[in-house]
Symmetry: C2
Subunit: 332 residues, 2 copies
């Protein structure tokens, strides 16, 4: 029987660990917080991140990451993007060559501008890598609502293994060879989510949101293809699918920040009121640097950066976007 | 000054006529109903289709379509798809060669499986044609909410004229050379809208809807490219943009039908309760015929047809979609 080690007991890591355990696999989950380890093992729950959810009794939580991965044939990393390098480095000595490494982390490492596949290639170069992405609120997967994601890998065999490992009646997994496009989609959507929050905060309707999502995806694809990704990935689950979820689903931290900006708060005000910073803030900065490197224009992301870092007025930003030179729909 | 004749005083035709009149163009609108002609000219309103909206005073309504188009440099057709051929044929003798014909009609002619550009080529072969499409609830355009659409034409000059004619501070128009793709997107979305209503009626969440929209768009693109359209069009305003609007915006007739099916009503029950049939019903039939002609598979549209015409249970249809063979995200 395959043993799977899940690194990170956030809501998504816990949900995937639970799904795998219920499929009959031996699953060990590493949690950073001792109280999460204890609650998982004693009461089969994760009150911190997936409240009121009864976890599979066979799921075993570990406080020691090395212990969790030791001898595991599959590692599923669900650490936050800023912590992924440290988490993988901590277990590197315990990971055998050829181990299947599934990354469920969205977002990039902001200082280096590296995506998770690139971080993994540096830290665990002998693992076989696949990125998991797509429109998947953890709570809904836990409720067994029909969900579809992609497993992206340049190694077709690794993608296939990920599909077979994870798929079940309510969880459909498509393979995709375009790892970079999959990772870009998962990261850049957070910038567009801030813009969606701005429209929401201004009380705007469906036409503006549909235009934002479509033109937002067009610029993500423009950046992605310039960096070497396949344009079709952005029409898929990790692009469009996740963007729809983020801009129309439950209010995320990124959208909430956009709503606050529309109501006249500054980024500094908002950051003071909340303990943590929305992921889209750092991604907006990273997007600007990636766009400069690739030599492409990202009109919406650039306006989001102006809202965040130059306190531009939201109505002014929208007017400037609407009054740009008339263009063909496909431009580069 | 350019004179524009708008054919059809539904909410969309009226809104575009009003927008053009407010831009200073001479606009004549032809309305089928005498009471609409009278209300437009006397009280500057269209109480039937755009209630509580004050229309531009310069807008002139006509009861006679030939009179409306006579001498007009631009004709904007906003007739319903089943009536477009008859409306264009009725004015054919009054239309000069080289007239710009803008079609704001979405959907196809069900008996012939022809899209509006193909109908226009038969009826007004000497006009220069452009299709208007994209995510645009008429009411929101009337309220001057930021909206983006495409003007699609194989004639770049015609597309450019359409852009300049229509664009204003709240209405952004992109050009696109792919007429067929633009028309396919506008028609096929109604089938996916029925499926979205089914998910809604079953009380499903955001993951299933995002998966439906993404995989729905994938199959529209699969059909479209097999018929000769450009795949990129489906990631644009007439594809993805309009699909998002239809599946997440105000409850349309198509989504309402899906909700009813999910609650156990049959198509016959629903049709008895409502005077008119949802456009997606005929389009589901047409999609099946187009798919057979193109030799492609449309898994979701096929299930919608089974729900509509074979009374398949919605939960069974979803289970069958989720349990298909595991596939790559891009398949043909």
């Amino acid at each position: 029987m395959t043993t799977v080690a899940v690194l990170g007991a956030g809501s998504w890591g816990t949900t995937l660990a639970d799904l795998l355990a219920r499929k009959g696999l031996a699953v060990r989950i590493w949690a950073y917080e001792p109280e999460v380890v204890e609650a998982s093992n004693r009461r089969h729950e994760n009150p911190l991140l997936l409240p009121r959810a009864a976890l599979a009794p066979s799921l075993r939580a570990h406080q020691d990451a090395g212990e969790a991965v030791s001898g595991a044939g599959v590692i599923l990393s669900a650490a936050p993007s800023h912590a992924a390098r440290a988490v993988l480095a901590a277990v590197a000595d315990d990971v055998a060559a050829g181990t299947l490494l599934l990354s469920a982390t969205k977002g990039l490492e902001c200082d280096t501008l590296l995506f998770m596949s690139q971080v993994a290639a540096q830290v665990l170069p002998k693992a076989r890598f696949a990125a998991l992405s797509g429109p998947s609120f953890a709570r809904e997967v836990f409720e067994r609502q029909p969900t579809a994601i992609v497993a992206a890998s340049t190694d077709a065999g690794a993608a296939r293994e990920a599909q077979e490992l994870l798929a079940c009646g309510y969880f459909r997994v498509y393979s995709n060879p375009d790892v970079l496009g999959t990772e870009i989609g998962g990261a850049l959507k957070n910038v567009i989510a801030i813009a969606a929050g701005v429209l929401e905060g201004l009380g705007m309707g469906h036409n503006p949101l549909a235009a934002l999502v479509t033109r937002g995806l067009a610029e993500i694809a423009r950046l992605g293809t310039a960096l070497g990704a396949d344009a079709r990935t952005f029409s898929g689950l990790a692009g469009l699918g996740d963007l729809i979820l983020t801009t129309t689903g439950a209010l995320s931290r990124n959208r909430a920040l956009g709503v606050a900006l529309a109501r006249g708060e500054t980024l500094a005000d908002y950051t003071t009121r909340h303990r943590s910073i929305a992921e889209g803030v750092n991604t907006a900065r990273a997007a600007g640097r990636l766009a400069a490197r690739a030599g492409v224009e990202l009109p919406i992301s650039a306006k989001v950066a102006e809202l965040l870092f130059e306190a531009k007025s939201p109505r002014q930003a929208i007017a400037e976007l609407m009054e740009r030179t008339l263009k063909p729909e496909q431009w580069t």
